[in-house]
Amino acid sequence: MVTGGIGWVVAVNLIIWTGLFLYLLRLGTRVRDLEKKS
């Protein structure tokens, strides 16, 4: 994969999107835990 090529850009975008997705999943879990506690 060439740095800066289309495949590379797709890979970087997918990594960013997956990171955001996992963060939201984790945030959802923590919010639910806090809701149960309160």
Binding site: I6, V9, V10, N13, L14, W17, T18, F21, L24, L25, L27, G28, T29, R30, V31, R32, L34, E35, K37, S38
Partner: protein
């Protein structure tokens, strides 16, 4: 997480991953654009769209607050929608400015569409300023709801009417003035899929934000 919610979240991940891959590997380049710059379209337009959806949703939640029993959850929903609308609006502005740099040679050109989105951001920035300036919870909710309802007229004007009544360097809208779609079908597919996915993402984040705001209001629970 409940199984259905897990499934929906997984589907959204797949959907948006397909949109990302489609934007770079499936959709062709638009004619008349420099290099690969036209691919910004698949991120720029959905962000602007979600920003508009968020501002309209804020207006609707505000109406529900004013005429639906003054429930605090509607006030929280409206405020969260404005915050997200501003976030997506800033992202749309930044991606638009990057595209403008490639196509028109400058990040900022005072194009009617650039100007109108900045005015929209200022309008909704003022909503947050209004909220933070009022300490009384009821008064804050009532006044900011009235302001957001005004946005139901302001947002459509700034997003759709003003850019069309003035000369603009901006490429034609997806649906042109004659009501026709003049875009390669594969581009339309990726664009619509991206807009739908971004809208779903907005409602997901909005849900989390409302729940967090409710928790903070209830007991000021710190996250860490």
């Amino acid at each position: 997480m409940e199984p259905l919610k897990k499934l929906l979240a997984g589907l959204l991940w797949l959907w948006m991953s397909a949109v990302i891959a489609g934007a770079f590997l499936y959709a062709p380049l638009a004619r008349g654009f420099i290099g690969q710059s036209s691919r910004i379209l698949f991120f720029h337009v959905p962000m602007a769209w979600v920003s508009f959806v968020a501002f309209i949703a804020a207006g609707i939640w505000s109406l529900r607050f004013l005429y639906g029993g003054r429930q605090p959850r509607h006030d929280r929903a409206a405020a969260a929608a404005v915050e997200l609308g501003l976030t997506f609006g800033v992202l749309a502005t930044v991606t638009g400015a990057l595209w403008a740099r490639v196509m028109w040679g400058a990040y900022w050109n005072w194009d009617p569409r650039q100007t109108s989105i900045v005015v929209a951001l200022l309008f909704y920035g003022a909503y947050l300023a209004l909220r933070s300036s009022l300490e009384d919870r009821d008064q804050r909710a009532r006044l900011s709801a009235a302001y957001a309802v005004l946005g139901l007229v302001v947002a459509p004007f700034l997003f759709f009417i003003m850019p069309r009544i003035m000369f603009s360097l901006h490429p034609q809208s997806v649906i042109n003035a004659q009501g026709k779609v003049e875009m390669e079908p594969r581009m339309v597919q990726v664009l619509l899929a991206g807009s739908a996915g971004a809208t779903a993402l907005f409602f997901w984040i909005h849900n989390l934000q409302c729940r967090l705001a409710a928790l903070l209001e209830r007991n000021s629970a710190p996250l860490e």
